[in-house]
């Protein structure tokens, strides 16, 4: 079996394992749809976006899609990799002839598949109920930000596994970071009513750029929402995460000191 087919076989295993994990499934697939339904039930009118007034529900469709990309690529991935490391599975894999990249590829490819499927679900809800108009520009923006988002947040997740000694700490920190970033980035609260300083702080982090880009793609006719600045910030964070992950990644459990 070639390494490439091994990598895809390993990805299928990762997906199967993920689908059999009810808590991971609920957290990454059900929860965001629920969030979108709740926000759209609360904010029924229009919100100011730049100079225009736009439907709040469309705004939330774009925002929750950005949130979902981060949730799967970052919060869920960091929990899964840390769990496997804590179980001793990463160490076990390391002791087989399987190349290390195959395992990491399988987890990221698994992440990408879950992101694509769940984003399509959210997009369908938006198109069906929340005034989302599908267009070529929207598709270009969505594909670009999905790719940049999975790269950026997966790299950061792998880097973060070094700082989360146990699966428990990862399960606490991942969602906490996701929630705080979501507030800072105008995901949960429309930018129109957010204090300026908070938005400025949010701009330091990649979620703000992904959320803003997707909001433009969904809300401004004739725009893909893709800007060099937004993509640049996300890629920069991704490269930082990748370098940190490559230099600090650990295959052996961190908490249980080995004898």
């Amino acid at each position: 079996m070639s390494d490439v087919s091994l990598a895809f076989a390993q990805t299928r295993y990762a997906l199967r394992g993920f689908l059999r994990d009810p808590s991971a499934l609920g957290f990454t697939a059900l929860f965001p749809v629920l969030l979108l339904l709740l926000f759209s039930a609360i904010f029924t009118g229009a919100t100011r976006f730049g100079d225009a007034h736009v439907p709040a529900r469309t705004y939330y469709t774009a925002s929750i899609i950005a949130y979902e990309i981060m949730l799967v690529s970052f919060a869920s991935l960091v929990v899964r990799v840390t769990t496997n490391r804590e179980r001793g599975l990463l160490k076990r894999f390391r002791g087989t002839p399987m190349p290390s990249w195959v395992y990491l590829f399988s987890e990221i490819a698994r992440t990408l598949v879950v992101v694509v499927v769940t984003v399509l679900v959210l997009l369908s809800v938006g198109a069906g109920f929340y005034h989302v108009r599908l267009s070529a520009n929207l598709v270009v923006g969505l594909v670009t930000y999905t790719a940049a988002g999975v790269f950026c947040f997966s790299a950061l997740a792998l880097a973060l596994t070094r700082l989360s000694p146990t699966a428990d700490s990862a399960s606490a920190f991942g969602p906490l970071a996701a929630t705080i970033l979501a507030f800072l980035s105008g995901v949960f609260i429309p930018v129109a009513i957010m204090p300026a300083w908070m938005l400025d702080l949010g701009k330091v982090f990649p979620l703000e750029h992904m959320a803003r880009g997707l909001q433009v793609a969904f809300l401004v006719a004739g725009s893909t929402g893709v800007t060099w600045t937004d993509i640049g910030v996300m890629v920069a964070w991704g490269v930082f995460g990748l370098v940190a992950a490559i230099t600090t990644f650990r295959w052996e459990p961190l908490a249980n000191g080995s004898r």
């Binding site: 091994l6 295993y13 199967r16």
Partner: protein, 333 residues
């Protein structure tokens, strides 16, 4: 490697054949291995070998350095000094080809509970160039009827046997078993033993660490006892008992007025009394008992609770590993 040719061996041909047999025969060869963690040295220059087709029992209490040693052999840990060769390769420079030839059962590894037994073994089989048949491997560890059960539903002993299946599926030339029965109940432990015996009968070379002497005695062809990062003794179970000079003890209840000096003169070795029990060591139980009984008859005394006690290998281990270790084992048991 060259050490197989000792000084003063016969002709060149003789030396050659001995070297070749020696090298072929040796699956693992460790010479003067040192390992430190920071300032603290953990292994103080140990040397041993594992021969093809044998089970080597690597015995020690927790903290003796068993896991450090096995993880060096498995290629997980660097070492500070010495020579280590596993299948002719230095594990510190492990290659993929080498990983194809070794099998691992780690001390702590929880396989993903979401997969079935068959899925787990199939997944690992894909990593190896010469994997054995999945169903055959599952059968070998006695899990055939659990093939389609999720790992999460298995008992502790079954999980541990699945660990072994995953270590075996690549058809390794040597299998490393790191404390395969620690934490198992007595029945699961027996099942694991039976399985390891079957592997031995099939000719597998196995490096087994354990902190149970009875396990090493039962399964291993040769035993190495590790204490504080040094080899305290090695050999077969019989050799260990004999070489360490462990003698039987003859004991009886000391009666009022018993004199150690008088009996010691008759027996010809020291007699001690502690807690109202008189005892002395014996190389020849039959002869010493005859002497003792003759002496007792002449003195007209009754020797209450007279016993001749043969030492078990467990006693050997406990003596070697120290009293502190014994307490630890009892706590764990």
């Amino acid at each position: 490697m060259a050490s197989a040719v000792g000084p003063g061996t016969g002709g060149l041909d003789d030396a050659w054949s001995r070297t070749i047999v020696g090298v072929m025969d040796r699956v693992v060869s460790v010479e003067n291995l040192h390992k430190s963690y920071g300032e603290r040295e953990r292994l103080h220059g140990i040397s041993f070998e594992v021969r093809s087709g044998e089970i080597l029992g690597f015995l020690g209490t927790n903290g003796a350095g068993k896991t450090t040693t096995i993880e060096i052999l498995e290629g997980y840990r660097p070492y500070n000094a010495g020579t280590v060769s596993v299948l002719g390769v230095d594990p510190a420079k492990a290659t993929r080809a080498w990983r194809n030839r070794i099998g691992l059962v780690l001390q702590e590894c929880e396989l993903d509970p979401a997969y079935t037994v068959a899925e787990t073994v199939t997944m690992f089989a894909r990593y190896f160039d010469r994997a054995t048949d999945v169903a055959t491997t599952i059968h070998a560890v006695g899990l055939s009827d659990k093939s389609n059960d999720r790992v999460g539903q298995l008992s502790g002993g079954q999980k541990r046997r699945l660990d072994v299946a995953v270590g075996l599926v690549g058809d390794p030339e040597i299998l490393f078993l790191d404390e395969p029965t620690t934490g198992l109940d007595p029945i699961a432990r027996r099942e694991m033993w039976t399985m390891i015996e079957a592997l031995r009968d099939a000719g597998k070379t196995i490096f087994l660490t354990t902190h149970y002497m009875d396990e090493a005695e039962h399964l291993a062809d040769r035993i190495i006892i590790l204490r504080d990062g040094a080899i305290a003794a090695q050999g077969t179970a019989d050799e260990l008992s004999a070489a360490l000079g462990y003698r039987a003890t003859i004991r009886f209840d000391a009666y009022p007025g018993f004199s150690t000096g008088e009996l010691a003169g008759v027996i010809g070795r020291p007699v001690v009394v502690s807690d109202v029990v008189a005892r002395f060591e014996s190389n020849d139980v039959q002869r010493d008992l005859e002497v003792l009984l003759g002496w007792a008859r002449e003195a007209s005394v009754t020797l209450a609770n007279l016993q001749a006690i043969q030492p078990s290998l467990d006693d050997v281990f406990v003596t070697l590993a120290g009293e502190a270790a014994r307490n630890e084992l009892e706590v764990e048991a």
